[in-house]
Symmetry: C2
Subunit: 256 residues, 2 copies
């Protein structure tokens, strides 16, 4: 039920490309008449970064990321921009997706929507501030192959059975990855079914890969499959099929 | 993959029945010879509560529980002890299950197991201290009807789609409830499959009911089904079938 929304995703994309100038234009600072013109100008220039700063992108490396997480991140990140034979840089086959702890605050429509929902709400997978304690992950998308890859490092607050990741935490990552993938492929969707086969438990603290692939699209339905494997691909942890239904945004707000 | 362990569950049960005397016997305090006998006796008596205090049972009411959560809690809790016609109290059809933020610390075998796993590990569903922010829930079991009921109040840190509970958080509660139920019925188990149909999103902050029922047992397999409904039962949010496999405890520790 990631039910990620295309509009929100597009909002993220737009946000990622916003320059500081654009940020100022969207939130024009009021004039301050204290201590002369220079000071006023400095304050006005500083205001956007104080009050309208860019949100933290949780999918960028932090000090808690282990060597395996970093190695895989660099592997995919290096394929986001490639060099041509002429030495020019151009888009590569993969694209990293940013990730925030709140959908609406930073997305198109947020101003309207935030009146409806609780101001304290936070995205489930990004609700713990302590780096490395819970979900550390980054998603890459390959539009040509219609695939998503997620590198996931499972923190110590995700325990289910002794020393291993909770099945619900694994389901959460699967829903997040397949839901994001379905949104990219089909626009606003809602999770209709997750069928998860757990093959082998995931030790706490380990880094695993989630690979999401499009199976087919039929009308409003998007069928996705997802495998969770060890970081070297040698061990299969879970296999999942997921079904998403395209929705209108109003359906979600009305809870229908 | 709740893979809840029978031994651990039995440990909880034993713990629940421990008197303070027993706690002292299990952890005899050393004698302190300062400021006379009275002080020593007071300190010795205080030691168990300082260092060997009973853990917090998260399934008891707290100030964050809303009226619907409290009403349902009292409904099932009142059926845990009933009065006979002669006015005597006896066990009722339901039994409340205690819930802690760490399996091993308070369970049989914990002393041995805690050497193996990380000391900071916490149960996924009990890893946030702020009452009401994430998972507030309590489980009741009815042995005769082979059913489990869970009352679940979804906090603001469980957001997925705007204003609604993340599909992974719902899957987490389903895994927790069905896994606990399977453990009660079959001893140590591991989640093999969760097949979840999401019918209707759950608004953040609302209280819902999870009802887990035994479908059948076949050799090592325990088949459970689970429905998530609104607190008055009028709306169906999800329907799930779950399969659990009986395991040896060593299987889990070896990650096989």
């Amino acid at each position: 039920m990631a039910r990620s929304l295309g509009r929100i995703y597009k909002g993220f994309q737009r946000l990622g490309s916003l320059s500081s100038t654009q940020t100022q234009l969207r939130h024009p600072p009021t004039t301050v008449s204290v201590r002369g013109t220079t000071f006023v100008r400095t304050m006005v220039q500083a205001l956007p970064s104080l009050f309208f700063s860019k949100p933290r992108d949780f999918s960028l490396p932090n000090s808690s990321w282990g060597s395996e997480m970093m190695r895989l991140y660099e592997h995919y990140n290096s394929q986001c921009e490639v060099e041509t034979e002429e030495g020019e840089k151009q888009e590569g086959p993969w694209r990293r997706l940013p990730s925030y702890n709140r959908f609406l605050k930073y997305a198109t429509g947020g101003v309207y929507l935030s009146k409806i929902i609780q101001s304290k709400a936070r995205l489930f997978t990004r609700n713990i501030r302590d780096p490395g304690a819970a979900f550390e992950y980054v998603l890459f998308v390959n539009s040509e192959e219609q695939k998503c890859m997620c590198i996931f490092q499972a923190g110590h607050l995700l325990e289910g059975p002794p020393g291993h990741v909770h099945g619900g935490a694994i389901a959460t990552m699967i829903d997040t990855v397949t839901g994001t993938h379905a949104t990219i492929l089909s626009g606003p969707v809602m999770t209709a079914n997750l069928n998860i086969n757990y093959r082998r438990p995931i030790p706490l603290g380990s880094t695993v890969l989630l690979e999401s692939s499009l199976d087919k699209k039929e009308g409003r339905k998007t069928f996705i499959s997802c495998k969770v494997t060890s970081s070297d691909g040698s061990k299969l942890h879970t296999e999942t099929t997921a079904l998403f239904l395209s929705i209108n945004f109003s359906q979600l707000l009305l809870g229908e």
